[in-house]
């Protein structure tokens, strides 16, 4: 069964990838959807057995690499944490597969798209089922590849290509850190197996190693390196710049990869490595600060974006920030809980916005939408469910996870915890604001689209709507159904050994004992945000424009995403391009080619010309050459053998 979960999507990719054109659109869609749906159903079964039944399993697939002391086997590790991820990954993936059938109906390259989706699903499953760091790295790179391919799926669009390359390069930075972290782990523990490493971690706590004339704490170094990998994949400041651009990909891709699954790989990584992070308080503080900063930063940028998908992208970035600071304060189950609920409502929002885009003839700018809630009422209603779940009003799913995160941040009673709490609270207000802004701008007011577009506006086909209903159900119910298992009284039994929290880490208990105002603050923040949005975009429509005019500097600052892209351009891209051009023109062209291939070729020709010039045609030259040859040979013979004996 576990083999089937992981390898069915691979099988679908291997069939549809090379043979898609021959199979045609219909069979390709059936094969990929079928494989992933079966995989998703089996995942539910696995969740039942492993997580609810408390029976983690380890399935050996093959011996992978054996080289000296380096022995890595390829095994599927299905514990409670993995089971949760399996449900999220395969569930969302199956819904997105089905949704894509409708969404990509007019695209000429459907088989390729479906194959890529299946490839991504396989890679993501490799990542979450990995039994060691190396296998995880394989999945990690695999999802990176699939993400690259899918962002650049419309390869004839320069913006899509640029976004794909940007995503790939920025991820390289993170992956480099992850790779270093794995190497450091192997250096310190002599193994990359999770079990071996985690068992040996307490022995390494507090030890240092010497590097570049400094003494470094072993666990802190490894954890921060691993966290750099997580930052890249999960779009944390300052490695977040690729995520908004990644919206150039088709919307189902954004829902699957850039909202529900791949971007949460970093959260999963830190949770998986909780036995290591627990021994490095410094690394946890770093995680908290970075997460809280991202949550706040992304929310501010989300306030002013006009592209519907970019708003949701920044929202994703911001929510990932929440998950990270939850991890940072030691509440790993809470982070995974938010990951779980977030997957539902964010996929719902993305697919819903895809439905809107589909309805508006591929228009993504909210300034050219409006007034369509009567035309596509189902999408409208479903998106409200997603938005309210995101704003975290009870009893929707987001309320249970996000509230708990903010409470736990307060309950941590540390500097970093307070920092996270206040930034998180501010972000919650903004979250509510931009979510409602999105809803109001998109659906309410007078239609701002052209007459022609409006005449084509229509509700999405069933293949697109049905997945939305499933996700809406999750967005509504996932919170109160699983609250008790994930973070409530049952959490210790539920998670078993898959997440390690030291005995003195009682954050999940402490969050129930915070002052009342803390408990009410997140909901209050949400309501404040909603009212402000209503005031700005329904009641007094002139306010936003006036505000932007009065605070032009601040507005531009936000609109340009705090100038991160410009800053990177200046600091990294331009010097890198300059260096590349110099190495290319001077280093490669002039020096290596000049003295290497070109130079050798030129001197060969030169030598050849001289060699043929020796052939003068005069007999006495030839005879002379022979005599000289004899004399030279005698001399050579005589000297090389050390003379006669």
């Amino acid at each position: 069964m576990y083999h089937a979960i992981v390898f069915l999507p691979l099988l679908a990719f291997l069939i549809v990838g090379p043979l898609g054109r021959m199979l045609g659109d219909g069979p390709s869609q059936w094969i990929t959807c079928g494989a992933v749906i079966i995989s998703a159903l089996l995942s539910l079964l696995a969740f039942w057995q492993v997580a609810l039944g408390g029976q983690p399993v380890r399935v050996e697939v093959a011996s992978w690499i054996v080289s000296g002391t380096f022995d890595v086997s390829w095994a599927l590790r299905i514990d409670q944490l993995t089971a949760v991820m399996l449900v999220v990954v395969n569930g969302v993936s199956a819904l997105v597969h089905v949704y894509s059938v409708g969404y990509m109906a007019h695209d000429p390259h459907k088989p390729r798209f479906m194959a890529y989706l299946s490839l991504f699903t396989f890679a993501m499953l490799m990542l979450v089922t990995s039994d060691n760091f190396l296998q995880m790295y394989f999945g990690w790179e695999g999802v990176g590849l699939a993400s690259y391919l899918l962002i650049g799926f419309w390869y004839h669009r320069p913006a899509a290509n640029a976004a794909a390359i940007k995503a790939f390069l920025v991820n390289r930075v993170g992956d480099f850190g992850f790779g270093l972290g794995i190497m450091a782990t192997f250096m310190v523990f002599g193994s990359v197996d999770f079990d071996t490493v985690f068992a040996a971690t307490p022995g390494q706590a507090g030890k240092t190693f010497h590097f570049l004339s400094w003494d470094w704490d072993v666990m802190t170094t490894i954890c921060i390196l691993l966290f750099i990998g997580a930052m890249g994949k999960s779009a944390q400041v300052p490695l977040h710049t690729w995520l908004p651009d990644a919206m150039e990909g088709p919307t189902p891709v954004s829902a699957l990869i850039h909202a529900a699954t791949m971007v949460t790989a970093g959260v999963f990584l830190v949770a998986r490595c909780s036995p290591m992070f627990e021994y490095s308080p410094t690394a946890l503080v770093v995680v908290t600060i970075v997460g809280a900063s991202t949550a706040f930063f992304a929310a501010t940028v989300g306030l002013v974006q006009n592209d519907i998908k970019r708003v949701i992208a920044y929202s994703t970035c911001s929510q990932l920030g929440y998950m990270f600071f939850a991890l940072g304060i030691g509440a790993y189950p809470l982070a995974i809980f938010h990951l779980f609920t977030h997957a539902f409502f964010k996929a719902l929002l993305f697919l819903g916005s895809g439905s809107v885009i589909h309805a508006m003839s591929d228009e993504q700018d909210m300034r050219r939408m409006g007034g369509i809630f009567t035309i596509i009422p189902q999408t409208y209603g479903l998106m409200w469910i997603g938005s309210i779940a995101l704003i975290a009003l009870p009893p929707f799913a987001g309320y249970f996870s996000k509230d708990a995160i903010l409470e736990s941040a307060f309950a941590a009673h540390t500097g970093a915890g307070d920092f996270a709490f206040w930034l998180g609270l501010a972000a919650a207000v903004m979250t509510a604001f931009y979510s409602c802004r999105l809803m109001f701008m998109t659906f309410h007011g007078k239609p701002r689209a052209s007459q022609e577009v409006m005449s084509h506006t229509h509700e999405a086909p069933p293949s697109m709507l049905i997945p939305l209903y499933f996700l809406a159900a999750g967005s509504f119910g996932a919170g109160f159904l699983f609250d008790d298992y994930f973070i409530g009284d049952g959490h210790a039994a539920f998670w078993g050994q898959s997440i390690v929290m030291l005995p003195d880490n009682a954050i999940l208990e402490a969050l129930h004992h915070v002052p009342a105002w803390v408990k009410y603050a997140p909901v209050a923040a949400g309501i404040v945000g909603i009212l402000m949005a209503w005031q700005f975009y329904i009641r007094r429509r002139d306010i936003p424009a006036n505000l932007a005019k009065v605070h032009a500097e601040a507005y531009r600052f936000l609109l340009n995403k705090w100038y991160f892209d410009e800053l990177f351009e200046l600091i990294f891209v331009r010097p890198a391009k300059w260096l590349g051009r110099m190495l290319w023109k001077t280093g490669d062209g002039r020096i290596i080619d000049g003295f290497g291939p070109d130079g050798i070729a030129a001197s060969v020709l030169n030598l050849a010309r001289r060699a043929s010039a020796l052939q003068s045609g005069y007999l006495y030259h030839y005879a002379f050459a022979m005599l000289i040859g004899v004399a030279a040979l005698v001399t050579w013979y005589y000297t090389s053998t050390g003379g006669g004996h």
């Binding site: 020709l605 050849a608 060699a611 030839y622 040859g629 004899v630 005698v634 053998t641 004996h645």
Partner: protein
């Protein structure tokens, strides 16, 4: 009085000598119109001589007071020489008819030259060696100048003659020095005289160098190669084809015997010379050919390079090395005969053409010939799985096992450079704008030769093992 067994040992040579004289008489009485039939008779004589070579007993037999030897080594080499001579003669027939040089002496001279080569191969004494070389050379000088009306041909013959005389002088001088310092001319007797010595005295050194110089001239190894490009270019094309193969094979066999049998004890000494000659030949063969447009001249440099590779096997001085040389020569035979057969088909209305650029677009006007020539060129460049690769492979293996690493490395590098001009020919044939097509259709015998040679080169990989095994037997007869 030699005993009857002596004559049996030399049966193929005696037959060939008698046949040559008989053909000469026939030619004298019947005149030039009989040339074509004489040619075929000569080819038949080669075939009978080949049979005689094969039916001779495999074990070593020495006769004529130790001057003459026959063993599996000589049988192997003689077979190659006879095949090469026969093929050379068959390829000549159309050409000598078309160029008006179909005189009856032509096949007779071929036979005498071949006889000389066979005597070289069987020589077991410095005197016998000289006799074989001179018989061969004198015949070749005449054939080189056979196109009497052509200035180039006569110049080629004259150059070859003068320089050949110089080399013969060196050879003789070397022989006399060797005799002076060892007191013997027989190879076995010299070996006995040198037994137990590790290094040669200075006099013997000079003698061996002079001997090597004379033999290196015959195989056209650097720096005694200077005649090769001029003679190859000037001589009539079928003569060049003949020059490039049979005499090379015979001279290399003689080179091996004349160094390995008598001077095995001091092999460390003469290896130095062979290594230098080998490296110089490989490098010159690789570099000097790059600028050549005349394909005959190009083939001259190519053959210089090939001799350099073959000498690697001699430098190794082991059974493995000799085996490598024999395999190399066999493949060299097939590649070169095939290539020259193609060159002989480069005929336009205005006459023969010899430029590489004349091959432009051959793949369109004559795809089969282009394919065959491409096969030969790839093989010469040493690209697997063609025969040329295996030839190089076995000599390089021998060099590696003899710990001559530098030599092997230089050999590989030189073959990379050399690949350039072979590939250039293929590029010209397949990618350049077609020129005027050659006069069609090719004669039956040319087609047969080209086809056979291509088959040998392409399918060599399939019968490598038995072939190498028989070369091994032959080599074992030479190196104790």
């Amino acid at each position: 009085m030699a005993n009857p067994h002596d004559y049996a040992t030399a049966a193929p040579e005696i037959f060939l000598a008698l046949a040559a004289m008989a053909l000469l008489m026939l030619g004298v009485f019947r005149g030039n119109r009989s040339t074509r039939s004489l040619c075929w008779l000569a080819v038949a004589s080669f075939a009978i001589a080949l049979l005689l070579v094969f039916q001779a007993p495999a074990e070593r037999s020495v006769s004529f007071a130790g001057m003459y030897v026959a063993d599996s080594f000589t049988a192997f080499v003689k077979a190659m020489v006879l095949i090469a001579s026969g093929a050379g003669l068959i390829m000549s027939m159309g050409y000598i008819r078309d160029e008006g040089m179909a005189r009856f002496e032509y096949p007779v001279l071929f036979m005498l030259a071949t006889l000389g080569m066979m005597m070289m191969v069987s020589a077991n004494d410095l005197i016998a060696l000289y006799m074989g070389i001179e018989l061969q050379s004198l015949a070749l000088y005449v054939i080189a100048a056979f196109q009497r009306d052509s200035l180039r041909s006569t110049e080629a013959g004259l150059k070859y003659f003068v320089l050949g005389a110089l080399s013969s002088g060196m050879l003789l001088y070397g022989c006399s020095l060797i005799y002076g310092f060892t007191g013997a001319t027989g190879f076995d007797a010299i070996a006995v005289a040198l037994k137990g010595q590790e290094h040669a005295g200075i006099g013997l050194i000079v003698g061996i160098v002079f001997l090597c110089a004379g033999l290196a001239f015959k195989v056209s190894a650097v720096p005694f190669h200077m005649w090769t490009p001029d003679v190859y270019e000037g001589a009539p094309t079928p003569v060049t084809a003949f020059f490039a193969v049979a005499p090379k094979i015979a001279a290399l066999a003689l080179f091996m015997r004349a160094l390995i049998v008598p001077f095995l004890a001091i092999s460390a000494d003469w290896q130095q010379i062979i290594i230098v000659i080998s490296i110089a030949s490989m490098l010159l063969g690789a570099f000097a050919a790059i600028w050549q447009d005349n394909i005959k001249r190009l083939m001259a440099y190519s053959s210089i390079g090939h001799v350099g590779y073959a000498l690697i096997g001699l430098a190794a001085g082991s059974t493995e090395g000799v085996r490598g040389v024999l395999v190399y020569l066999a493949i060299y035979l097939a590649m070169n005969v095939g290539t020259f057969a193609c060159i002989l088909c480069m005929r336009r209305k205005t006459g023969m053409v010899e430029g590489v650029s004349d091959l432009a677009g051959l793949s369109k006007s004559n795809p089969m010939m282009a394919l065959a020539l491409a096969i030969f060129m790839f093989s010469m460049a040493g690209i697997p799985p063609l025969g040329g690769f295996f030839g190089k492979f076995y000599v390089f293996i021998a060099a590696m096992n003899a710990e001559l690493y530098a030599l092997a490395v230089i050999g590989v590098l030189a073959s990379v450079v050399g690949a350039f001009y072979y590939l250039r020919i293929i590029k010209v044939m397949y990618f350049d704008e077609p020129g005027e097509p050659f006069e069609g259709p090719m004669s039956v015998e040319m087609r047969a030769i080209i086809g056979l040679c291509s088959i040998v080169v392409v399918f060599f990989a399939f019968y490598t093992a038995p072939f190498v095994a028989s070369a091994e037997v032959a080599a074992a007869a030479l190196v104790p």
